[in-house]
């Protein structure tokens, strides 16, 4: 298998899907002439032309609405948000239009659109550029929400997203773009709603998604080396649909769990996971399920404060030890 970056994996998925299906086109800010703010769409304008790689003004509502409208008549647009922090401008189009159209018109109009781009922070981008907010979208019936953490998952899931007949929120993470991993050759897809056990273990289940999966894997290695604690790391990959079976199967083995995400803790997606665990596996638990997440503060600029705001390997290690007490 080839080892490529997360960014290249996304680009491969876009390229292959555009070659496979003439209805697929890209729309977003700086994706064409400028080759993409994070270079995900590099070379695609030259390859597919300006009808299929559509540069836009800074108009997030317009971008989202245009993608939704085109999807309503059968095209398969992939709209890029420069970051999901800017998607806040387009939330009415995503929530009140993309997510509602199938239902409110009695199942007669589907909206096969993908909204993709980086979420999260960690590069001193401060309060307005560091949002995660996947729990907002996962809260909305009608949207699917996926958060791949590895190049292989990114490619396989972006293809699935593009072929899906429903609106998909495809959240990347800026810190993942340059990470590398093995990616299978040729055409493959990864279904939504299937979590991936990225590391097996018998003592504590760590549930994570997106970039924090890498943090969790590092923490698990360290705990194994230094303390002999074996953590099982579950990468959810997809939040809606959510694979509860994999989580519950693991908890019936470990009886202890920690949920990790970069979004704020208060009303974050971890709260939903914990609620479901206590609902379906209360008797399996030997300790309260803990959450490791961002502090409930606007993300600050200063390097030390920002580091303190985001979840760290040490935070995960501490939480694992606490559930083992």
């Amino acid at each position: 298998m080839a080892v490529i970056t997360y960014r290249e994996a996304l680009r491969q998925a876009l390229t292959e899907e555009m070659e496979r299906d003439p209805n697929v086109f890209l729309v977003g800010e700086e994706i064409g002439r400028y080759q993409g703010t994070f270079r995900v769409t590099e070379g695609l304008l030259q390859r597919f032309g300006e009808m299929r790689v559509v540069d836009t003004p800074i108009s997030e509502s317009g971008i989202a609405g245009m993608a939704i409208g085109a999807a309503m008549i059968g095209l398969r647009p992939v709209a890029e948000f420069m970051t999901f922090s800017f998607a806040l401008i387009a939330v009415d189009q995503i929530v009140n239009h993309a997510a509602k159209i199938l239902y409110m018109f009695g199942g007669q109009i589907s909206v096969p659109v993908v909204f993709r781009g980086p979420a999260g922070g960690g590069a001193q981008l401060s309060a307005q550029h560091s949002h995660s907010l996947e729990s907002w979208y996962a809260h909305i019936p009608g949207l699917k929400v996926v958060t791949p953490a590895t190049p292989a998952d990114a490619k396989g899931m972006l293809k699935t997203a593009i072929r899906d007949d429903n609106p998909v929120i495809f959240m990347e993470h800026a810190k993942l773009y340059s990470t590398r991993g093995e990616v299978p050759e040729g055409d493959y897809t990864i279904p939504f709603g299937v979590a991936d056990v990225k590391r097996e273990g018998s003592d504590v289940t760590i549930i994570a998604y997106s970039q924090p999966v890498l943090l969790a894997l590092h923490a698990a290695e360290k705990l194994a080396e230094t303390e002999g604690i074996q953590c099982e790391v579950i990468d959810l990959r997809s939040l809606q649909p959510l694979d509860m079976e994999t989580i519950l199967r693991s908890i019936s083995k470990t009886h202890r769990a920690v949920v990790v995400h970069e979004d704020h803790r208060n009303v974050g997606f971890g709260a939903e996971i914990v609620a479901r665990i206590q609902e379906f596996a209360f008797d399996e638990l030997d300790a309260p399920v803990l959450r490791v997440a961002s502090a409930d503060v606007p993300i600050p600029y200063a390097r030390n404060l920002e580091r303190a705001a985001f979840p760290s390997e040490e935070d995960i290690i501490r939480a694992v030890k606490r559930v083992l007490v």
């Binding site: 245009m66 409208g69 309503m72 009415d92 239009h97 409110m104 009695g106 199942g107 009608g142």
Partner: protein, 343 residues
């Protein structure tokens, strides 16, 4: 009575007397249909908001008359008239208002979310201006496929003050999408007069800066709307370029069912309403039909009775239709995924 030649001269070239009669009867159907809505609402047959189009019938009728079978349209929540003008079965529209399974959206959308995919009517939308970016996407899709269809996008004067509309108008001009933006200026966004809400109250003037042709037209006269719409739609279909048209019109009733005469007194006078009622598009067209000898007094009465009959049949059909089965609650959230019952 005018001579046949004089009638021909008064009518746009493409409008035969027979076709004019059809359009007049469409307006009659819309009027009678909506006159049945308020009593049905008061009887508890309907819920939610209910926004009637009474007074504005010439706008939807005059524009939609020029749509081809494969054209598209979207509109706001004041959408009964647009659906009926497009030829959607009035019984199924009424059933939707009654929340019945036979409704155009299976009873799941209601008055604000009518739809008729077969006729290219891609929906009425409840967020002011929210459908305008969608129309740009529909227009882009038409261009993408190299088609010569157009998309009509109807919205009110209130929508001119919400951001996404301006993003969309700018993008429409950038991508040269074949969309006709029909801004139905009925003078009030709910209770707020356009002169208060828009620093430039001439909305066609305001839209001029977006790099597309704009025009302000009279909306209470069916023949005038028909004539203007024909020219505008032809231009958009053949150029292609978007077009912004402000149509001056008036709603005779309140904004919605809750905007009763007492509330209306807070923002408009009876005299003002009366002034516009004198310009009722249905009365005006009837007068033209009589004066020109196209119709007799007797025919007008028959058509009126027939439209009323259709409206009453729609009510009876809706009333007799079943509610959606409870399983519908969980259907259509996703095309391919079950939503778990929460109980």
């Amino acid at each position: 009575m005018k001579t046949e030649v004089a009638v021909r001269k008064a009518l746009p070239e493409s409008l035969t007397p027979q076709r004019l009669v059809e359009l007049y009867r469409t307006m009659l159907l819309i009027r009678h249909f909506e006159e049945q809505c308020s009593p049905a609402y008061r009887q508890g047959k309907m819920g939610g908001y209910m926004h009637v189009y009474i007074g504005q019938e010439a706008v939807a009728t005059g524009f939609i008359a020029h749509m081809r079978d494969d054209d598209y349209m979207v509109c706001s929540y004041r959408d009964h008239g647009h659906a009926l003008a497009r030829g959607t079965d009035p019984r199924r529209v009424m059933a939707e208002l009654f929340g019945r399974y036979t409704g155009v959206s299976k009873g799941k959308g209601g008055s604000m979310h009518l739809v008729d995919v077969e006729r290219g009517f891609l929906g009425g939308y409840g967020i002011v201006g929210g459908m305008v970016p969608l129309a740009v996407g529909i227009g882009y899709g038409i261009r993408y496929r190299g088609g010569d269809q157009v998309c009509l996008c109807f919205f009110g004067d209130g929508a001119m003050n919400i951001g996404p509309v301006h993003e969309a108008l700018n993008m429409a001009a950038i991508y040269k999408v074949p969309v006709v933006f029909v801004c139905e200026n009925n003078r009030y966004a709910m209770a707020t007069p356009v002169e208060f809400a828009s620093a430039v109250p001439n909305l066609a003037e305001r839209a001029k800066q977006y790099g597309m042709p704009t025009r302000q037209i009279e909306g209470m006269d069916l023949l005038e709307v028909y004539r203007q719409a024909e020219e505008i739609i032809r231009q958009v279909r053949t150029t292609p370029t978007p077009f912004f048209v402000e149509v001056i019109t008036y709603r005779f009733e309140g904004h919605g069912i809750a905007d009763n005469p007492t509330n209306q007194a807070l923002y408009r006078t009876k005299e003002e309403v009366e002034y516009w009622r004198q310009r009722d598009p249905i009365v005006n067209t009837a007068r033209f039909l009589l004066d020109s000898g196209i119709a007799t007094e007797q025919q007008l009465l028959e058509w009126d009775a027939h439209a009323k009959q259709q409206a009453l049949e729609a009510v009876a059909y809706a009333d007799a239709s079943p509610e959606p089965p409870i399983e519908e609650l969980y259907r259509d959230v996703y095309t391919d995924m079950e939503v778990q019952e929460w109980r």
